[in-house]
Structure formats: C-alpha cells, structure tokens
Amino acid sequence: MTAAQSYLEQSSPPGRTGWKAWLLTHDHKRLGLMYLWAILFWFVLAVILGLLMRTELMGMGRTIMGPEAYNSMFTLHGVIMIFLFGIPAIPSIFGNFFLPIQLGADDVFFPRLNLLSWYLFMFGGGFAVFSLFSGDGFPDTGWTFYVPFSISSAGNVSLTVTAAFILGMSSMLTGLNFVTTFHRMRDKAMGPMQIPLFTWSLYATAWVQILATPVIAITFVLVVLERFLSIGLFEPDKGGDPLLYQHLFWMYSHPAVYIIILPAMGVISEIIPAFSRKSIFGYKAIVYSSLAIAIAGSLVWAHHMYSSGMSDVSVFVFSLLTFLVAVPSAVKVFSWVSTMYKGSIAMSPPFFLSLCFIYLFTVGGLTGLVLGAAGTDIHVHDTHFVVAHFHFVMLGGTGFAFFAALHYWWPKMFGVMYRNRPAYVGAVAAAVGFVFHFVPMLILGMQGMPRRYYDYLPQYETGNFLAGFGAYLLVFGLLLMLLNLVFSLRNPRTAPANPWGGTTLEWSIPSPPPVENFTDSPNIKDFPYDFSEIVSNSNK
C-alpha cells in the first residue's frame, strides 16, 4: 500500500480536488478530521475563556473584568465546552473515523447525512457565537435556560436555543448514522461479542443521542414559542407549570452527561488492554455496563430537581435509580484495573493519560457521592465544590480521555509519529496543574465559597490565588500536547501500521488508511482483544 492511496491523498467521491475534496467529501475519515479542527478551535477558545476567569479570580475585587463580562464568560465557557466540545468531541472525531473501520466497513451507512451533520455543527456553532455579539447579547440565563427567566430575559435566548437546536440535530444525525452502520454495515463474520468496546460505547451513546435529543429540541421550540406567542405552557399564572420545563430539560441534559462520558470510557477500554498486552478483563461486563449506563442514565433526570418541589415518592425513585447508575460505572473501573493486573505494561503517552483518566474520574465519582447524598449536599450546594466535581468528571474524565484518544490514534489518522518527550511533559503538567487547580476549589467549596461570582469574601483569597497557578500549569500542559501533535505533521516521522501493538481492525490496515479502509476483506478475530499473536511476535 502506498501513501498515494491513502484517504488524505485520494478524495471520496473520486475526482474532487482542493477545497471541494474536503468540503464536499463523503469520506468518514475526512469528516472526522474536519470535526477535529473545528472542535479543537472551540476547545482552545473555551480554555482561554476559562483561564481569563481564573485570572480574574486570582485577586479580590475587579481585576481584569467586571461582573457582566464574567457572567457572559462562564455561560459561554459552559455552552462551548458542553455543546461544542464535550458532546461531539469523541463521537464526531474518533467515532466517525474509527467506528466503520472497527466494524470492518468502508464507510458509515449514510455518508451524505454525515456531511450534513458536519455542516449543521458548524452552522450551529456559528449561530451560538453570533447570538453573543448581536441584539441584546448573550443570554444571562446560564446554559439551563430555566423558565420563567428565559421567557422574559432580554438576552438573545431565542437565537441561542435555536443554535442549540441545530447542534442537537447534528448530534442526532451522527447517532443515527452510528446505529445504522452498527447494524447494517458490520462485517458479516463479526458477531455482537466480537465488536470492539469503543464501538460498543458509541452504539450505546448513539441511542441516547437519538432518543433524548428530540426532547430538548422540542423543549427549545416551546421556549421560542413562549417568547413570541406567550402560549403559557410554563407560566403558572396562565395555568402552565415551570416544573414541566425542568423535567423536559433534564430528560435530555442528564443523559447528555452520559453522551459525554460513555465514549470516553470506550476509549479507555481500547487503550488499557493495548498497553497491558493483555485481553480486557470482563469484556461482556463492559459491554453490558455501557448499555446499562445508557438505559439507567436516561431514567435519572429528576435528581437535578430534588429541591424544585417533587413528591417524596418521585424523589425516592429517582434517588434509587441514581445510585444504580454507579454500579455499571464501577464495573468498568474494576475491569480496567484488573486488565492491568499482571499485564506486561508498556508505558506510552496515551496509556499515561488513561491512567490520569482513571484517577481523576474516580475522584470525580467520589465527590459526586458527596453531592448525591442529600445530607452532605446541603453544605456544598452551589459552591465551588460542585464546579470542581464537575470538572473532575468532565475535564479529568472526558478531557483526558480525549487527549488519550488523540495520542493513541494520531499515528493512524495522519500516518505520523509524534515526539514522546513533549507529550509526557505536557501530560504531567496537565495532570499536576489539574490537581493543583481543582483541589483548592474543592476546599474553597467546603469552606462555603459560592460559584458564579467574579468576586469573593477576603478569607477565600489565598485559595483562589493558588488555584490560579494550577490553571496556568494545566493550560500549559494541554497546549504543549496539542502543539507537539500539530508539529509532528510538519516534520513527519512515518508511523507503522500498528505502532502500539493493538488488536482491533484499525491496526490491521495501513497508516493512514486507504479511502475504502480495507483493500482485502478484514480478518475478523474470534475475540477482538486476543493478544496471543502480538505477544508471541514480540517474544521472537
């Protein structure tokens, strides 16, 4: 296989050149790269916003921005990180690129729809930013758009929820593509228990995307109708019920957390066995736990509404279901750790980042217990403890898994190896910076510092000042890893087909892959994580 035949050299459909080969492509791999650049842009923007906020908080009172700017910034930081990074990052980039390959297929089931998803994503993102600079400015409702404030707010709520609607459509179409590809394009020799775990996690996520996203889409349409026509669905003085909005909102927005974390767990399930040179422990348990998280996670939305005025029975049921979700999550962590036990560990940047994921995600889960139990939640409710917990799960979890995936699959996607040393330095800086940034926030929260303020009481100054340094170290680490990867494209060292000793199908084809993915029919193994061949080759 020559490099000229790779998807980077040859367009799909054939014959297109220049920008047309990219902007009109049907190739899932090219679309994965297009998502990559767009999502990295949003990620870096949101990181800069976050750093500006932390800089403001390093000193008491107004330092670099006032309360209005701070309010807009944390809303924008949240909206970008959730809707333009967290939800699409792993499914849209790595899912698009690797799901068809791991299934032995040449593309997704609806390639044109895949392209439409990308355009909707770009259009929705642009729309969200447009709503910041037009009219009365960005909505000051936070990312939840809670009624009745979102109905009466002078901010650009209508435009922003329309942007979220469009982004939701993109996410839904991607999910649809994954489910259909999973069922209809899978190699005939591949049974359900021969499918790689990353693909399984994407499949579980896709169902949540398909079933939950329409709920939020309809809800946002209702908010727009309320604003224009005052139909009174959520207004108590017109016979409506504001709680109804909260139910509808969380019916999507809680499963959205699983849309964010499930694919990340899939990534870790790929990386841990590859660098332990050992079959994944509890393959079936991980598959079923992915499905269980998707199903149980869709039924726990009302735990965001305990204090909104629900019946005791509802609180009991939703609380019980919430605790149930912890079980499949713990099954995964147990399986990963057991996979490493007595494995032949080969340290590498993606493996190191995966270890960071397990550690940080576990801390996120444990601090989640503090919030999930009503007795302890009272003390830290709406404080910086919540912010720190959320970032342990989202950035420490999905963020580190995203970087692990980037380092794991970069040689396959571009056919080049990156330098290990800057990757290690970046990963260590990011992990240490992360801990030094968010642990003080956990402590500040326990001391009672409320979130969302640009200012604070004098006793919180030391903690905030120190947390600021952690933030700078974290951002330095993240940017160093990204730059190292980007620079690897300028001075390429060719990557072999299987640099890590992976066993799933993407490692059986050239790096970068050819347009049709497989030139010969794929060799489907009885078990996707069978390392006997890899181990015996390395022993020779």
């Binding site: 009365d136 409702t141 404030f149 005025g309 709406d382 404080t383």
Partner: protein
C-alpha cells in the same frame, strides 16, 4: 421550496427579535445591569413604580425586575409582630435582608424561610451585628398573630443564631405592600383559592435603603454572605443566579383531562409504532418466504 421559504422567514424573525424588538423584551431588565448601571436601573424603577400592582394587567412580564441601585421608600409603615406600626426607616439602619413571603403559604415560602433560618447559622457574617432580616407578608389579609406565629417557628429553627429582635416579621395593608413590592420590582398574583403565585427571592438592602443585590432560590449561605458583604460596602452588584423559583399552589385535578389526553396520545403512538414494526416484519417475512419459494 416552501420549506426553505418558511425556514428563511423563521430565521429572519429570530434575527429581528434579536435586534431588540419583540414583546418579551418590552419590559426586560437592562442587559448591562450591575454596579455601573445603577443609576439607569434606578431611573427605570421610577418609570415602573406606578405600573406595578397585584392585579394590574400592564405589570411587567418578569416576576422579578431587578432595581439594583434604587432606594426603598423608607417612609412606608407596616405592623410588627405585636401589631404596632413600624416604619421601614426604623429598621433599615444597617444592612437588611428583605424577604417578601406570606406566612400561610402552600408552596415554597416556608421552605425558603427555613433555608434562611438554617443558613443564618452558617454565615461568615454575624446576624444581628452585621445585618438584620425582615420578612414582609405580601398577603394583606394576614395579621400580626400570623406573623408572631411564624416568628416563633423560624427563630426556633435558627437555633439562637439571630437575636429575636433582629428578625422581624411584618404585615401591612395592601397599599404599603404594593408600594414596597413595586419598589423592588417584585410581582405576585393572587389566585381564586386565595393562594399566591410569587417568586422566591430576597433583596439585600444597604443601611440607607439602597437596593444592593437579589438572591434567588434556596438562599445558600455563600450567596447570602456575598449579598451581606456588598450591602455592608453599599456597592450595588449584579445578581448571579437567576434560576428563579416560582412559589405556587397547583391543583392537579384541574388539568386531569389534559394529562389523560396526553397519556392516551402516547399510548396511541406506541401502539401505532408497534403495529407498523410488526406489519413490516410480517411483510418482509412473507417476501423472504416467496423468494425462497422461487429459489427452490
């Protein structure tokens, strides 16, 4: 074509709306808000003073229209827990947390009062020394006895964290109530069953009666502390958490018909979906049988 035209019209409407038009923005709070715009907000407050009342149809759409930077009408006279007249001037001589509620509330008022009572014990600032709490009933039918009973309950819940004289429970006549709530931009509506629909919010006021900050929802200690801190410095500041809670007393029986219709609709959709899937499978099965028949 028609769809594309419709989409275009929809987007244009949205853009027009974003440009500042539209009914929902007519009474919107100023987008800049906060300390620097305090004067502008105060002016806005005067504009709306006469428009706000319990039943006025021209009342603004917002449940709380923040009037940060404006001043309370301190000359207003209410009744204290013993039925004695008490002007606001007499109690707003240090930072005050003003909490509009009603004492026999079927919704969240009691929870809010309880939250505040518990929060008082966990503040960095000292209740009584740094600030005073004033609960005002928005129900002009409530009497001093109701206020006295509420005071007994919530002072006890506060567990001695606040001296009795520093948490006042006031009642007043309709005029005093509407004037005060108009001054703080607080809307409420009485229902046919005598209960009220009203937002859950408290207002931090400086010692000269200046409105400093609005605190919404559960009154967590951190929020209350920040409000007291700013009130002590007399610096009006932007509210940060506007996830407004609405206190109301829903009657589940009133909308039973709608709920039943929705249930029937959902069942019908699921039945139709299941029937369609079954039909599809039966047809595919039949076709397969026929194909197999041809092959054989």
């Amino acid at each position: 074509m028609r769809f594309a035209l419709g989409t275009l019209v929809f987007i244009l409407t949205l853009l027009l709306h974003a440009g500042g038009g539209g009914p929902a923005c007519a009474h919107g709070p100023p987008a800049d808000g906060g300390a620097n715009s305090a004067a502008a907000v105060g002016k806005g407050g005067q504009e709306h003073d006469s428009a706000l009342s319990m039943t006025d149809a021209r009342a603004p759409k917002e449940w709380v229209e923040e009037k940060t930077g404006a001043y309370l009408p301190l000359e207003l006279v209410f009744r204290d827990e013993d039925g004695r007249p008490l002007s606001l001037e007499g109690i707003v001589d240090k930072p005050v947390l003003l909490l509009p509620v009603y004492y026999y509330c079927a919704g969240s008022c009691s929870r809010n009062l309880a939250n505040l009572a518990i929060a008082l014990g966990r503040l960095k600032s000292v209740p009584g020394r740094d600030f005073r709490v004033v609960a005002v009933s928005i129900n002009d039918r409530e009497k001093s006895e109701d206020a006295r009973r509420a005071k007994k309950t919530f002072i006890k819940l506060a567990g001695g964290k606040i001296p009795e004289g520093e948490w006042r429970f006031l009642t007043g006549d309709r005029e005093a109530i509407t004037t005060l709530t108009a001054a703080i931009g607080y809307r409420f509506e009485q229902q046919a069953d005598g209960t009220f629909i009203h937002p859950s919010a408290l207002v931090a006021v400086a010692s000269d009666g200046r409105i400093i900050r609005y605190v919404y929802g559960d009154f967590i200690p951190g929020d209350v502390d920040m409000a007291v801190y700013d009130a002590g410095r007399n610096t009006p500041s932007l509210s940060v958490k506007r996830l407004l809670d609405i206190c109301f007393n829903p009657d589940p029986n009133a909308s039973k018909g709608v709920v039943l219709a929705v249930k029937a609709g959902v069942l019908a959709i699921f039945a139709a979906f299941t029937a369609a899937v079954l039909l599809l499978y039966r047809r595919r099965g039949g076709r397969r049988d026929r194909n197999q028949g041809v092959k054989e």
